[in-house]
Symmetry: C2
């Protein structure tokens, strides 16, 4: 797609700042960029003329005067955010300021491979766009999260353990058949980190997002930017060893935290407790539904079931043990925990905290906050939208 013509570096910085400061006043933005009031006003006027920036609503400033809020112009087009999980598929259409226009989620099985999953993505994209009155040509940028390691530059998965059929498949090329807009692919946890970074308006520079579901992954924000590592596999914390005598993991090693404390491990422990007669509640759940998942364990725990509490405590402690190593190494200001595990409830979070505070150094935990992700289940989609807009600004704003 052609770059916007004649955009200067200063105009570009203003567009980026507008996006990241989500509806800030022109005064605050000029200050942040170190522009004089008159320079900022001239730049803004030019960008409004070009249809890239809009003055939106009015905000009562502290001095009683009204300062105009700025946002990226809705006429620029729409973004599509796609969050492909191991067992779910979320698609959304968003405005350039990330206002949600339409959204759909459904169960999916990523192991069915890219042909099946992406065919469904294609259908959902068309339907959702139509529902908001848009066509393929209105799409400004597409952001996609996938549950595996991604080579970000070329937009391909690299040796993804949960989805081997996707190895080296080009999602970008696949969607190019329908859309002229640029397509960006990233790891799902990196997108959650990007989403939180946007929500925080970049007010935190060094934090982690841990996603716990079928697997365990970590998004890293360092020096105010998402950090992907030398080969795109940074944050692969699921295979950190927490017990030298632990069970064997599908990766070949023993005692990986993912094998001992992620969703499937919690389910396995619950089924064992039910079958061993340790919990009437879990046994009843198994009898009625034929299975027990993490949410059931959380429900039993809230109802006072001792076995369920023990399982949650154990999983939380193991994840806390892994996190303690990571906190000693990285010294983040915040750790946000997201993914399916959050539906278990507060006991899990308490167990994680206890374990981290006990095992990490005092200096690293003195100001550390550990909490569930504020964006919750929307984190992946918001992150996909941030990826789409942020990267589109980069590729469209500069001459090739």
């Amino acid at each position: 797609m052609a770059p916007w013509s004649g955009i200067t570096a200063d105009e570009m910085r203003l567009l980026e700042t507008t996006f990241w400061s989500a509806g800030g006043s022109r005064h605050a933005m000029a200050e942040q960029l170190g522009f004089s009031k008159s320079k900022a006003n001239a730049l803004i006027a030019g960008l409004v003329d070009q249809g890239l920036l809009a003055e939106a609503g009015l905000q009562r400033s502290s001095g009683g005067r009204r300062a105009e809020n700025l946002q990226l112009h809705a006429g620029l087009g729409v973004l599509v955010g796609i969050d492909i999980g191991a067992t779910s598929l979320d698609v959304a259409v968003l405005r350039p300021d990330l206002t949600l226009l339409a959204q759909h989620d459904e169960p999916a099985d990523v192991r069915e491979g890219p042909a099946v999953v992406l065919a469904r993505v294609r259908v959902l994209m068309r339907e959702l766009l139509e529902r908001c009155g848009y066509g393929a040509r209105d799409v400004l940028g597409i952001g996609i999260g996938v549950p595996g390691p991604v080579n970000f530059e070329i937009g391909q998965l690299v040796n993804p353990p949960l989805m081997p059929a996707w190895d080296s498949f080009s999602i970008r090329d696949y969607l190019r058949e329908d859309y002229a807009a640029p397509v960006f692919v990233d790891n799902d946890v990196n997108l959650m980190a990007l989403g939180e970074l946007w929500r925080l308006k970049r007010s935190l520079n060094n934090f982690l997002v841990i996603k716990i579901g079928t697997g365990i992954g970590c998004g890293i924000v360092c020096h105010g930017e998402v950090y992907r590592g030398a080969a795109g596999s940074a944050g692969d914390v699921g295979h950190i060893c927490v017990d030298q005598d632990g069970p064997r993991c599908h990766c070949g090693n023993v005692g990986c935290v993912e094998a001992m404390a992620a969703g499937p491990a919690i389910t396995r422990m619950a089924v064992q407790a039910a079958e061993a007669g340790e919990s009437a509640m879990l046994a009843e759940c198994l009898r009625v539904h034929g299975r027990i998942d993490a949410v059931d364990v959380g429900q039993a725990s809230r109802a006072g079931d001792t076995a369920a509490n023990g399982i949650i405590q154990r999983a939380g402690n193991l994840i806390g043990q892994m996190l303690a190593s990571v906190v000693n190494f990285f010294n983040p200001s915040h750790v946000f925990i997201g993914g399916g595990i959050t539906r278990i409830g507060p006991l899990f979070l308490a167990a994680v905290r206890q374990s981290v505070y006990q095992r990490s150094l005092a200096l690293s935990t003195r100001h550390l906050e550990i909490q569930y992700t504020p964006l919750g289940v929307q984190g992946g989609l918001v992150g996909a939208g941030v990826l789409a807009m942020h990267e589109t600004l980069k590729v469209r704003g500069v001459a090739p």
Copy 2:
């Protein structure tokens, strides 16, 4: 100290690039900065006039034409680099381009507290400066490394476990009595990372430096900058747990890698082996010297001593186990190992590698290189010089 008068942002970038590219040609530097040839030439001429930049020697370029090398002007003054270890003290005087002018190292005990150690630093600084014909007023910047966590902004140690008497002591204020030059204090391993970053001319963006001596610490380079963490304690990997049933560490937890595999642990294992009659060589060493240190274990190993080999293998494997967690999380391109442990020899490095490659994910280790620090024992001092010059440029180059 007053900022250099009238330095523009572009001139500043040119000075910084000159320092970091260590004697690069004006052509290469202009290209790196995106300056036109004529703009670069004008800027350089101005900086040469101001006595900040010098054209040094000639470098035959690929086309057969001669391109002038640039370096920071020697007339700017000298840097002092100080590397305070747990048991040693190194002081050096360096040119702005980090050419070593004078150096002295001696044993020291950091536990004696700042009054004793810094009084000695003060004497050594004066002596070394005199030896090169300089006085206090010629000092441009001072960089100091200390073996504990540092609040970098205020230049103070925070709860340092190895040197409690230094807690909240202001090294900066102490040296201000003698020197008008700015004083910068950082953790010793961060300085090793900074030193390697400078040696590499910033050609690697994401790597780690592990220092193993009395303790174990890690310097982190992320997105091309040293990363210090939210509270300045990033890289505190010595207390990562590698054995849930391991011995108790001075930090209160059990199985910390530092308690099981750093210098004192190696010495302890060697004494045990000597006393248990498992090694004639180590027993002889203990008899003659009354002690065994890591170098002795290395010598015995090279002479084929089985017990010594076992000790080194065990220490290397435990450190590799800790590193495997860190590599899974951070996915660095390189891990450089430095500190006293390097004197043990190649067997230790082999054991570390074996353990990391076995325990880390394939994607994280596919292009990972693990080696001893190229700067070796000079790493801390070079890093102190880099800190002094880099930060001095920052504070002197901009109006307050």
